[in-house]
Symmetry: C3
Subunit: 205 residues, 3 copies
């Protein structure tokens, strides 16, 4: 057993907390958008702003990494964590954008469910990231993320099944198939983040 | 020239052998399913069970990695090999699952060919993994995997060409295009595994 | 501040220059193909030859890496740079091949624009790679690549929007959607290469 080598105070943790809070905010905006599907353009705009802010935070983490000699945990894990957190936002933005480009008139029930799961996942990630420096509870968060990811898989599978069973317009099938896949990719990227958190905590336990 | 630093006996090799055997089993089940396309649900169920077992083995490798100080080869390569072997199973499962969700009535000739190539690739991977500790023959296995991957590319290309030439139902085009891509992704992930095996052997030669 | 540890002369730089020149050549061939869309098969053949040559260069870099003890920059970065440069060529080949397989009769205006952006990106990468050993100008190249990537995103978004607004044939939608995505993936892989170049230069500044 090693002592914990993770210092309690560190700029990296502050930046990761900021990044997680920003992702959670984007997921909340997306949930609000699909639940109250009006003034979609202006709601989407706020999500795009969050994605832009996320890029800024990611670049600040990378810049800070490049000029920091001793890091609170593996350089590679810091880099991967920042990249994968960025992927979540990119996918939230991409799904939102496709809803505009495809002129989606009303989100399906499965679309709302998936966005709800994404919201919960990003909430758990926010907890996980803020508990990373205490090395505690992260394992529980990861189990919860895994549970949510399995739920998302089931919802997506049912959504795709119903889409191919019921939708007769091939163009609508193409649009919704891609939307479901982008939302599922978002939940996968949340799981990637949870896996990195778990391995960071394990290595430093 | 360095001496081989890979010990002959090691829990990692045992686990990788288990993982490879399980992947080979899943590929055999898939081959049996597409060749005798009846009672598809129960055949698919066995493939899903193999995927579940694969997850267990992957987690055991990662857990073992996290508590092992001296590993038989690079930690990163162990991690990557375990992840990429897991990807093969995930893709075999995803392709199988899509055949159910899309209510495919009869696999095409190209689908059967691709599954046949996947079966041969997973067989070669089983040999490669079990020969990794002897540092021998792995290079030959990698050449064979490359040959099979090129064959899979050609079959997929012909399959997509024929699909767009002959199939007039756009929904069927969407379904089969995705199935062919998932099968080709499976062969790509087999090649990824072969590339990792090759680099591990080269580094420790 | 460290002194630059990157030697000015090195086989790796020579190989990366070769690789970049080959990618630039493939992009030029593709631009010529979409701008003068006749004798497409023989023009595509030249692109496939460039992709084949790219594989040879990539393998030579990996082989050289495996037998070189002291490398001019991080082994991992050399590996990643070689792989990501190879990805650009693979995607150029895949997009070209799809134009043949899908029997595309005439490239759209957005297709030509995207290929034009790819050509400029590969030109900038050629400069970036050849300036890597001087540690200079790479940052400017990366900014230019980012600008081009954002332009490609906008063009793709407009292309997909127009496709779904105007094209009534679902099969044509499937074909063009994939083509635009493959071209956009190509610009993404150019950005990946720029990001690696930037981090290599930052680490060794």
């Amino acid at each position: 057993m090693k002592f914990s080598l993770i210092p309690k105070e560190d700029k990296f943790f502050k930046l990761f907390d900021e990044s997680a809070a920003n992702i959670f905010k984007a997921a909340k905006l997306m949930k609000e958008m699909v639940d109250n599907y009006s003034e979609v353009e202006s709601k989407a705009k706020e999500i795009f702003d969050a994605e832009f802010e996320g890029d800024r935070i990611t670049h600040e983490i990378i810049r800070h990494l490049n000029k920091t000699f001793i890091t609170p945990f593996d350089r590679e894990d810091i880099y991967n964590l920042a990249s994968k957190m960025d992927d979540i936002l990119d996918l939230i933005e991409a799904a939102t954008d496709r809803m505009l480009v495809y002129k989606i008139e009303e989100p399906t029930i499965e679309c709302k469910k998936l966005v709800g799961i994404i919201l919960r996942m990003t909430e758990v990630i926010t907890w996980g990231v803020s508990n990373m420096k205490n090395l505690g509870h992260v394992y529980d968060h990861c189990i919860e993320i895994n549970r949510l990811e399995n739920e998302a898989d089931r919802v997506t599978r049912d959504a795709i099944g119903r889409l191919f069973d019921e939708e007769k317009d091939p163009i609508a099938v193409i649009k919704w198939k891609e939307l479901y896949e982008k939302l599922e990719d978002t939940t996968d990227s949340c799981e990637d983040v949870a896996n990195i958190l778990e391995s960071v905590v394990l290595k430093n336990a």
